[in-house]
């Protein structure tokens, strides 16, 4: 079943005294329910713009964003966006648990008495059950991002949008968080749209990888990743197909930057 369909999405910014700058040229793809899809592309190729448009935070200049067939005009309940800047997205005046239930508090259909038990359960899933009374700024970067993920999950969205969520943590933490994400993805059977500039990360995590090229961005290719799950940091990354995908995507991006713009 199709969860998300992006059709001819365009976004341009007005630049004073100049031609408007096209961040998104013409982007079309779809995400099926339960799928893990990554968007990979060089820095500055409009990945963040794409995600904030899909999340309903920014207006678009053209095209359509369909969530279960319905047009997205404002942030929908069915989606949660996880930002790269984990330190700035958590509320410093709230404890970890209160941060996690922040989204639920705005959903009248979830009973008040359910907030805390549900929050604790999700915190347990991300391995932070003993930190519920702690404040976000007392945690490490990786832990803060776990809180942000827990908050996204606790709100019960169908789709998690993730904007380079692991780009600012160290390599070890990053591997841990990747595996954590795969675990909760399977446990909660969510749909994930994951943006990254890291090709290896995209292949490791995803069912499909969408390759985006630079300015104005269009979809270069979509690659189905046929590596069996559950994935494992060492063996999956040594899989012959992994290396094949990796080489292919690298070449693809290299060619697109060599020719300057999209073919």
């Amino acid at each position: 079943m199709e969860a998300l369909r992006i059709q001819h999405l365009q976004k341009s910014y007005d630049v004073p005294n100049r031609e408007s700058f096209a961040a998104l040229g013409d982007v079309t793809f779809e995400v099926r329910k339960g799928e893990f899809v990554s968007i990979v592309g060089p820095s500055g190729c409009g990945k963040t713009t794409l995600l904030t448009c899909i999340a309903g935070l920014r207006s678009r200049s053209g095209g359509q964003i369909l969530l279960y067939g319905k047009e997205v005009t404002q942030p929908p309940r069915e989606m949660a966006l996880i930002f790269q800047e984990y330190g700035r997205t958590l509320l410093p005046w709230k404890t970890v648990l209160d941060n996690v239930i922040f989204g639920m508090e705005n959903r009248p259909e979830i009973k008040r008495s359910e907030h805390r038990p549900r929050g604790r359960e999700v915190l347990n899933d991300v391995g932070l059950s003993s930190f519920e009374h702690v404040y976000p700024w007392q945690l490490s970067g990786g832990q803060q991002q776990r809180v942000a993920i827990a908050r996204g999950l606790a709100n019960g969205p169908d789709i998690l949008l993730m904007d380079e969520p692991f780009a600012s943590v160290d390599a070890q933490t990053r591997a841990e968080l990747e595996d954590l994400l795969l675990r909760v993805w399977q446990k909660f059977s969510r749909t994930i749209l994951f943006v990254t500039h890291d090709i290896d990360e995209a292949i490791y995590l995803s069912d499909r990888v969408i390759v985006l090229c630079q300015n104005p961005s269009v979809v270069l290719d979509t690659i189905a990743i046929e590596i069996e799950r559950p994935r494992e940091q060492i063996s999956s990354r040594e899989h012959p197909r992994f290396l094949h995908y990796r080489r292919y995507i690298h070449k693809l991006l290299q060619r697109s930057t060599d020719t300057g713009t999209a073919p």
Partner: protein
């Protein structure tokens, strides 16, 4: 944690040495008044000031006028707070409102409260209402500007986060804007509390009647200099206590702010 333990210890040490320094100065003052006889009239010995302080406290004169000044300044402070916080939040939150009101704010802000007083006297008459208005005028601006800056300085990512969870206008305001601006508002309030005290003493000196300011001019014209100094000392004590009470309150309200900044730095 050991660093914060150390800094608390160091802070206590420096407060102690600062206190000792004040004592040393007072002792020096006392000695000078005995050595130079002419000075003693204008600058009386510390002991005679303390004696006047004690007598005036015992008679109830000093406590009475202190409470009068306190009520006056708190009335003005409260009035400014009630007006400035909503104004600041609103102007900071709404871009059109900010653009419309900014020139006016910049024009009125530098006008000293003392210059406003003649207008206040004309409109309100010579009474407590006018005094409270002048105090409130002076205390209004720091709170307004800080609240405004607080709202305008909110991290856009925090706002986007709340919006992805479906918070809209009022929800955003109540859940994000208010809390993010709170540290700034508190800084403005602290500044304004001191300004309120200054203005309260000023209107009392200027208009007389009651309060510590009145006491200061009254004893000066009676040439009872130690009593005059006792009233001045009381102003200092009042200012110190007000600030200390405020710091205590601030610590409770925005502990997260100080802590998060300490851990980030």
């Amino acid at each position: 944690m050991s660093t914060s333990g150390w800094s608390a210890f160091a802070a206590r040490q420096s407060r102690l040495s600062g206190f000792l320094f004040v004592l040393l100065l007072l002792a020096g003052w006392e000695i000078v008044t005995y050595l130079v006889e002419d000075v003693a009239f204008y600058i009386p010995a510390v002991s005679s000031m303390l004696q006047a302080f004690g007598e005036m406290t015992w008679s109830g004169e000093l406590p009475y006028h202190t409470v009068v000044t306190l009520i006056r300044l708190l009335l003005g402070f409260a009035l400014s707070l009630v007006a400035a916080i909503p104004c600041g939040l609103l102007i900071g939150h709404s871009r059109p409102l900010f653009e419309v009101s900014e020139p006016l704010v910049e024009l009125l802000r530098p006008v000293p409260a003392i210059a406003i007083m003649p207008i206040a006297i004309l409109v309100l008459g010579i009474n407590v209402r006018m005094q409270v208005f002048v105090i409130a005028w002076a205390s209004f601006w720091p709170i307004l500007l800080n609240a405004l800056d607080g709202v305008r300085g909110i991290d856009p990512i925090l706002m986007d986060t709340a919006r992805t969870y479906g918070y809209q206008r009022f929800g955003l305001f109540r859940r994000i804007v208010l809390f993010s601006a709170l540290p700034y508002i508190m800084a403005g309030l602290r500044l304004s509390l001191t300004i309120s005290l200054i203005l309260a003493i000023f209107v009392e000196i200027f208009m007389g009647g009651s309060g510590l300011g009145f006491l200061i001019v009254d004893y000066r014209s009676a040439l009872r200099i130690p009593e005059m100094y006792a009233a001045i000392i009381m102003v200092a004590v009042l200012g110190y206590l007000l600030n200390a009470a405020f710091v205590l309150l601030e610590g409770r309200l925005i502990r997260w702010h100080h802590m998060s900044h300490a851990s980030a730095g």
